[in-house]
Point group: C2
Chain length 411, copies 2
């Protein structure tokens, strides 16, 4: 599925200023409770009515307690009405106490809102191995109703760690003649790598969607978006993508059988792809967004693996930082990706400039290539000339600032 | 096999000033032929008599032409008498012309030495996608006999690229009451990653070893040494480990059935492990050697995979650069390694300081840990408490200089 096609064919409208509260019936907010020194560190999303929910979680075996608690909430009846997120401390590797704290977060927030506990999801992001200051979180929750705390922007800020900007948008499309909206917010920055999770993303929609179908759509879309980004190759303990669908648009319940199902999944993909790209672009220390398209592979899986190998290569990432059209490193990454290719068939382009044809270097204007690579977004495309499998991966360059940020994250 | 035990049990003596010419019957040299601006760029090893040879090659699918030519030489009768290496240009992704050039390198050198072509191996390292300046190489080969060019040190220098120092040593042990010597030289620096190759290493010995047994020993030892190091996760197109055994020690031909076989493979492992560690320590921009020991795994394969995940993590590598005892990143890497572990059983130590026990953080003296991490070698040990599988991996920290070197390698 090509989301750009979806946009033109199915009238999916992008609202770059949209947010998780653009869909009807959702509110959101954030405040500073004292986990971080000054910045907002506690955020929430609330739906006026119970919303159908689906989520995907990190594959890291050290899954943090908040993920376990959220899984339990969703397992109940795939319905939640609110979400509470803290940043600053991940509540990971915290043992029984950590699990107890995650349950307590859920319990305190559900009580504050007058909801059943299983109607609340929780998430945490930040430092591993430290216990949450539950007194501050409790104090924060008691302030959550204050009118000055109620904006989507405060939510977007409250979930950030080393991110330098908020990640958000909304899209709209028509289903059953009803306008439906999907909004999203995310945080990323470090520990970002293909294989899900590796960041937090929250999606809201006023569409009415059947629970199982929503779960299927989220998994499919996550594979093509969040699972195709990398910042540093590290999959975190805490990450999840959560979608809430509250039905306020009053469309006929969406399932795979609905004639507009593709429109809905296309819109969902547009939101997730944009959030994924926003995360990649704001990777720790990054100065550039890198987009790697691999076409002509035998299978989609092969194209995915090769595009991820390229986007994950430290040597490719540093060359992009240095605006160096060092195609040898791209070819090298293709060669060790683990997917068989026919070297003599490989074509590589950097932006509009063809640099390798049939496995051999082309003569090209180095200055032109260098100039192209100084742009904010660098496209690399590979054609394996073997089949019709294609995939796109997103990442960022590797810079001095990445080292700076991560050599002293805790101090 | 624990090489430290081997040293004490089997009387393997380390000669840190030894080289590829310490074993009897080998000479070596190097010169500047003009591939690089000033530094030595053409090196060779010569054995007085034909030597049994074995090699392992990169798994990268874009194998460079010199590897194909060397494979062909070895395939002939597993015997070579000389090796020619150039640095500066890798002769990779150079198509038919590149293959022709590699054959010509072999042909020119064999003619100069009066050897059969299949008694010569060739290797190249450096920039990908550029053709070798064959006129300069030819000119260089014609100077190879000059007495002032004949030292092992010149060979060690001639094979380097962005390395900051030569990598070399020799060891001695007794077999059949005969003193046998094994010497080695290597280059590394960038594009270093587990899965063989990823660097050049050349080993000489005056032991008499059966061809097939030599090949078995090299593969086994490479798996435990060169395949356990990483600098940046990129496996190169050009790398190989080549061993030559010329029999000058006049021992009974070594095979797996020889009573001293273990002594020989222990000595070979000592050489390869030392070269591998020298490569890791001199990784591009590195300030520290990192050694990761994983014990208590269900299998050796699991221990290998987990130790490699830790040593390859950019977040762990930057933390080590910053002397930050950020054990959360170590635990995180264990969790996404792809090998199942029981989180509640995982113990982690940084040097002598236990930081995680049974999956939970311990209280430890941060200043003491920081001070420990400022040493030249940082040991990380993990005990999974599940079985008896153990493995060690080596790497280096990720620094500003890594980014600096690689953002502008070609310019």
């Amino acid at each position: 599925m090509n989301p750009m096609q979806s946009v033109s064919m199915k009238h999916i409208e992008l609202l770059t200023n949209g947010s998780v509260t653009t869909p009807r019936g959702f509110s959101a907010g954030g405040l500073h409770c004292g986990i971080k020194k000054r910045k907002l560190d506690l955020g929430w999303i609330y739906s006026e009515v119970p919303a159908t929910a689906a989520a995907v979680y990190t594959v890291n075996q050290f899954q943090a307690p908040p993920l376990l608690v959220t899984k339990e909430s969703l397992a109940h009846e795939n319905t939640i009405q609110a979400l509470l997120v803290n940043s600053g401390i991940a509540n990971a590797c915290t043992g029984k106490q950590g699990l107890q704290d995650a349950y307590e977060m859920r319990q305190l927030f559900s009580k504050e809102l007058g909801l059943a506990e299983h109607h609340v999801a929780v998430a945490s992001t930040g430092l591993i191995g430290t216990h949450l200051p539950m007194d501050r979180i409790q104090q924060g929750i008691s302030q959550a109703h204050a009118p000055e705390n109620q904006t989507a922007e405060r939510f977007e800020k409250a979930i950030l760690t080393t991110d330098t900007c908020e990640k958000k948008l909304a899209v709209q499309c028509e289903i059953d003649g009803k306008l439906i909206t999907i909004g999203g917010a995310a945080k990323g920055s470090g520990m970002i790598h293909p294989n899900m999770a590796t960041m937090l993303a929250f999606v809201t929609t006023d569409a009415d969607v059947a629970a199982e179908s929503l779960s299927v759509a989220l998994k499919q879309v996550t594979n093509q978006t969040f699972n195709m980004i990398t910042v540093d190759g590290d999959s975190s303990t805490n990450d999840m993508v959560l979608v809430m669908a509250n039905g306020k648009a009053e469309n006929d319940t969406l399932t795979e059988a609905h004639p507009d199902w593709e429109t809905f999944t296309g819109a969902l993909e547009t939101v997730c792809q944009s959030l994924a790209k926003q995360i990649a672009k704001d990777g720790e220390g990054a100065t550039k967004l890198v987009e790697v398209l691999v076409e002509g592979a035998e299978t989609v899986a092969a194209a995915r693996q090769i595009s991820k190998a390229i986007i994950s290569s430290n040597l490719v990432k540093t060359a992009i930082y240095g605006a160096d059209p060092n195609w040898g490193r791209i070819v090298c990454a293709i060669g060790y990706s683990g997917q068989p290719v026919i070297p003599e068939k490989v074509n590589v382009s950097i932006g509009p400039i063809a640099v390798v044809e049939n496995g051999l270097p082309l003569v090209f204007d180095e200055d032109e290539a260098k100039e192209y690579m100084m742009q904010e977004t660098v496209h690399i495309s590979v054609d394996l000339q073997e089949g019709s499998g294609a995939a796109t991966a997103w990442g960022c360059d590797l810079t001095y600032d990445y080292v700076k940020i991560n050599a002293s994250y805790r101090t």
